[in-house]
């Protein structure tokens, strides 16, 4: 196996071996604590520009599944490609087995030209990210791995300075389903399972680019999807939503959609030290006795103190108290920071889709 290493902007380095595409790359290094679901995570557009560290040490066990489509949309991947800039694991399973398998994780990474590094002490790496906050990093493969850390740590470009949403948003309008209610889905990097989850109802979905001007369109509801990066870069989208908030059509936001909703309402967002990425985040629905286990992948969050009067915190994370969902007192606009569509992760909050549909 080829030598490989990960160098962080603080000049620390982690040595391992390459199991993906043999080309060096860079990005923002983040960790995810989920124990299953790497095919879903790899293809989650919210990871655009990031290098993902899996805290669970055994990765690749069940390979990569055969493609399977429903409504012309993959049910096994969350988009049509890998969005990561690199994948860091501890123990890569070269041999894999599953009845749905098509190929190995290694081949999947190689075909899509994404580097992968194994043999890393991902726990000590995670602890570093937890203590210092997310760091920029460089994955160095083969000969590049001999580059001194001092040098490699220099000039890593922060992906958050780019318009990441533009990179992953659709550039055409697609329609799904032929149901009664018409929903416009603002695609900021929407995961496929959001569409699958909505298509269980009597709806027609129109997936549109994030900057799409829907103001002259007819629709029954709006969905603002998940997506990568700093929400504040989505100026046009925020503007459009601000318009929609003055109307009466229900709006549902997921993840980045939650932050966009808050920004459009006039609140502020900020970057978390190391984000929430995992499948075990407990979220309490305020005013009830119910706490839900949720799947999450976000680096930014809403500042609850900046929420305007008509807006309330809906869910809060009981581990760190951060906002996990907000709603407008009219009950027509609401959004959650977590992923009710799961994939990967627990499906405990899929009732939110029904709630949204019922409002239409």
């Amino acid at each position: 196996m080829l030598q490989a290493k990960l160098v962080l902007e603080d000049k620390s380095e982690f040595h391992g071996f390459s199991f993906g595409f043999p080309r060096s790359n860079q990005g923002e290094v983040v960790f995810n604590t989920g124990m299953t679901g790497y095919p879903e995570s790899l293809t989650d557009p919210s990871y655009q520009g990031q290098i993902l560290v899996a805290t669970y040490p055994l990765i690749g066990n069940y390979g990569i599944p055969k493609e399977n489509k429903k409504n012309h949309l993959s049910t096994v991947f969350e988009s049509d490609r890998i969005h990561l800039n690199g994948f860091i694991v501890s123990n890569y399973s070269r041999k894999f087995n599953h009845w749905r398998k098509k190929e190995s994780l290694s081949r999947f990474l190689k075909t899509q030209k994404i580097p992968g590094v194994c043999g890393i002490d991902t726990r000590s790496l995670t602890k570093k990210l937890r203590q210092k906050g997310v760091l920029l990093g460089r994955v160095l493969i083969g000969k590049d791995a001999s580059m001194p850390a001092r040098e490699a740590a220099k000039n890593i470009i922060d992906p958050n300075t780019r318009d990441l949403v533009a990179e992953v948003s659709t550039n055409q309008i697609e329609t799904f389903g032929q149901g009664k209610k018409k929903i416009i889905c603002l695609d900021c990097g929407m995961k496929n399972n959001i569409i699958h989850s909505l298509l269980k109802f009597d709806v027609t979905l129109k997936k549109v680019p994030s900057k799409y001007d829907f103001r002259k369109q007819s629709f029954d509801g709006l969905l603002i999807s998940n997506g990568p990066g700093d929400p504040q870069t989505n100026k046009q989208l925020i503007e459009n939503i601000r318009w929609a908030l003055k109307k009466k059509k229900p709006i549902f936001g997921i993840c980045l959609g939650n932050q966009i909703m808050a920004l459009a309402a006039g609140a502020k967002t900020y970057k978390l030290k190391y984000g929430h990425r995992g499948q075990n985040q407990p979220c309490l629905e305020i005013g009830t006795n119910r706490c839900y286990l949720t799947s999450q992948n976000h680096g930014f969050t809403v500042n609850p103190k900046t929420l305007p009067k008509q807006w309330k915190v809906w869910f809060k994370n009981i581990n760190d108290g951060t906002v996990e969902g907000i709603y407008h007192q009219s009950n027509r606009f609401f959004s959650v920071q977590f992923h009710p569509e799961a994939c990967p992760g627990p499906q405990d909050t899929k009732w939110l889709f029904k709630k949204f549909i019922d409002k239409l």
Binding site: F31, G37, P39
Partner: protein, 1104 residues
Amino acid sequence: MTKSPANGKFQKILILGSGGLKIGQAGEFDYSGSQAIKALKEQGIKTILINPNIATVQTDKGMADKIYFLPVTTKFVEQVIEKEKPQGILLSFGGQTALNCGLALEKRGILKKFNTKILGTPVQSIRKTEDRDLFVRELRKIKVKTPRSIAVKSKKQAYKKVGRISYPLIVRAAYSLGGQGSGFAKNKKELEPILEKAFSYSRQVLLEESLKGWKEIEYEVVRDKFDNCVTVCNMENFDPLGIHTGESIVVAPSQTLDNREYHFLRSLSIKIIRQLKIVGECNIQFALNPKTLDYRVIEVNARLSRSSALASKATGYPLAYVAAKLALGHKLYEIKNAITKKTTACFEPALDYLVLKFPRWDLNKFRKVSEEIGSEMKSVGEVMAIGRSFEEVIQKAIRMLQTGSYGFTDWSFEFKDLEKEIKNPTPRRIFAIAAALENGWSPEKIAKISQIDLWFLHKLKNISNLRHSIKNLSRYILTRETSTPANYPHKEKSFSGKLKTIFQIKKIKNPAKIKSIIRKAKQLGFSDAQIGWHLNVNEKEIRKLRKKLKITPVVKQIDTLAAEFPAQTNYLYLTYNGTEHDIGFEKNKNTVVVLGSGPYCIGSSVEFDWCCVNAGRELQKNGAKTIMVNYNPETVSTDYDECDRLYFEELSEERVLDICELENPRGVVVSMGGQIPNNLALALHLQGVKILGTSPKNIDRAEDRYQFSSLLDQLKISQPKWKELSSIKNALNFANSVGYPVLVRPSYVLSGMAMSVAYNKNHLINYLNKATQISPDRPVVISKFELGAKEIEIDAVAKNGKVIIYAISEHVENAGVHSGDATIILPPQKLYLYTIRRLKKITKDIARGLNITGPFNLQFLAKANDIKVIECNLRASRSFPFSSKVTGFNFAKIATQAMISDPAEKKFNTLDLGYVGVKAPQFSFGRLKGADPVLGVEMRSTGEVATLGDSLEEAFLKSLIAVNFRLPRKNIFLSIGPLEAKVEFISYAKKLAALGFKLYATQISACFFNKRGISVIPVKLKPFSHKKNNHIFEFSGKKIQLVINIPNNLETLGFSRGYRIRRSAIDSNIPLINNLQVAKLFIDSLESKVELLAKPWNKYVKYQ
């Protein structure tokens, strides 16, 4: 601490324990009960505990507020409820025993009568999980699938109904022994002959859909009364469906499930727990089709279970503690995560390691028992290994079993038919797989035969491949032979018979290559000894080389959240799959390491865990920083709140040295965890580790037969004549010279393994040929076996050779019954003062002779005025908790004080007590199909109980009832073998008749007693059959309620009539007494008509 809406409502709660350890219900319930008590006490609730298992931590002072050492039966529990009037009762912390008892109490209206509320899961829900029909019906309501099964009474009916179940299917004869009459049918044609066979065994036949080869997956699910649910852990069985999960190798989390499968089953689990309205914790077992998303729910356990104990240790999530809080009505999200102390318990642990559980079997301790493992549990314990690669954990686990293997690449079996060995699982299967891989079989081929998931087999193949790379290193390593150093510990001769090699490394070439292979080997879980063995080099040499190459393990924490949040956790493991320690090592001069007891097995059980926990608590009390090393998930000692640092790690020389080098302890306690840590004493000492207590040199003197024998000679203490022999001829000569019977055993033994009594020359020859294969490499020890002698034990503590405290107890059974299987009385009731004086003198002399500091135990034979020493252990013994709780003085704590300080001079009264304690063995013969239920020199009990009484008779009867013995009302069957026994029994038969019992016996016995004026009805035993074993003891409609069978000698072989009588009693669930002295005491006790009182411990004993 959490705020509770229910707080204040309950002031007093009763907890039912699980009683003696038996197969299927072991030490895990000490752990869960102890956690429940801690949870209740935090709320200021008074706890009452009923548990006759005296060796548990939960029955310790400072745990439950009031403790009753009583049988967990409705009769006794009712008495306690009436007396204590608890407002609530917890049923889910004492296994099936507590659950069944609770259900019976409820059914009889006893709980209602005293206004005692069942806390947690409601009774209706428990019934739904216990009753198969209700269960299936309930799950059908929410469209959840269970295995399809129908019962038919004729072939015709079978053909008519078979359409409801798809082929392939299993045909089972109902009520048949060991699955006889069962078969597998792929189509109608195959069904015909199998039905024919099945109906020949039973009138009712079950047709079940076959789930052969499906994956077995478990989820541990928690729910509060507000419907908040989490799945704390999922687990995957390495062995596919068909093998009981207690008999399976299990990994957590699941390894071969993708996200869809994982969360599909998770969502189902939550749906099920909500439908069943369980409050607290449950375990759900699924069968998952390995080729589709099809599934079946196999069962739901609405209580804490072995799996939940495993899940707790695997994740660090205290399931029992949380379940107890939820039972009180708390909200799940208001309970704090006990590890992080900051985050909530309403979450699902994210693991950044994996664990593997391996069952520990002891089938070779039993005669005539089938070795095959399947749908019934036979294992007696388990081990859990933590690591960051599958290879690492399985190799650790194999070593942790302490069955003599260095790892996956080391086995001592010869496999004649590998395919059969892999197809039909036995405890050896893992090594059959290793041998097959070694023979070049592909993982695919093995997967096809075993239906084990290919992923696991590829990982095993990695280990097998690396063994070759290690062997190839020998060309780079030059060695020289050295002679055995004089002080080389004899333990180096490992008990599997291998001699550890003693080659030294002279020089190495190509260090880079060596480094990369050895590092890889360590990452795949190879031990130094294993690497050394493959390279023909001493373990210590590998350690030296490895350290020179800077290959050392790192310490990682278990924090439940994969490092996402900071946690001050002290729950630790070591791995080579990492580069950085999670923790720092301060130079604390007062750090003490306590070595735990390893897996529960026959001979080593919860009692040693009790000793370790008490030692730890005493050390902490004295200001020491304690480090616990143990890897048994069923224990309290592996609760991270019991010590300052918990290393869930191997108890091996290598690993303990690793830990000591990092932690620099003041000393190591090896004398509390039984034989496993005791065996490490000398090796650790020679490596410079300070051993607390008696010096390892003296431990060795006691362990080494020759040295100990000459010490006894010096002290003028007599011992049975013995000799170590290595040929049949010499063996026979020696046996002749001392006279038969003789006790014979291999020279290196663990707890009576493969010991036997030879009554004549043929017996002896047979044993030497078959059991031990005597040779100069494998010598045997033969000693004179004393018939009719009394056995006495002393548990004691000494300091610098001076005895501080001792307790004398006597066995009910005569010598020849393993002390672990004996019924023990404390204080002794029938010893002469002279004997006691002599025993004390011997004890003092030995303590001085070995300069003992700490715990020790002596075993004696007494015949007339002659007292012989038969065993001396310089460690805590199995009976330490019994001696402690009956006398009121905690021997483990006193021993710990002796090891670290000078305990104050004090007089302990352990002899003149106003009450009696009786310890009775708990057997699991019912679980071990075919095993001969006899007592002998090999230990066979799986657990024990002890009760207290104002008289011997009272305590004895209570302890019998506590091991599931039901007192007879009318009909007793006698089968007294030896003539002397018959004669001795005459007066007792008379007593039974006078008490109004109806006695039955075989023709000859009946005739014997009739002639002596005792009315015994002669009966002809029905032939032993597979069909109607339940009725073998039914004579003209009268059911036998007790069988007294006194075997002809202790070591009968073959399927004698005596065996059939004993076995049938077990199979028909009829109480069996198989020892003359026990029978006599039993009859005397019945005659005494003593009242069995429900008195709490503190009414008998002032415990200090």
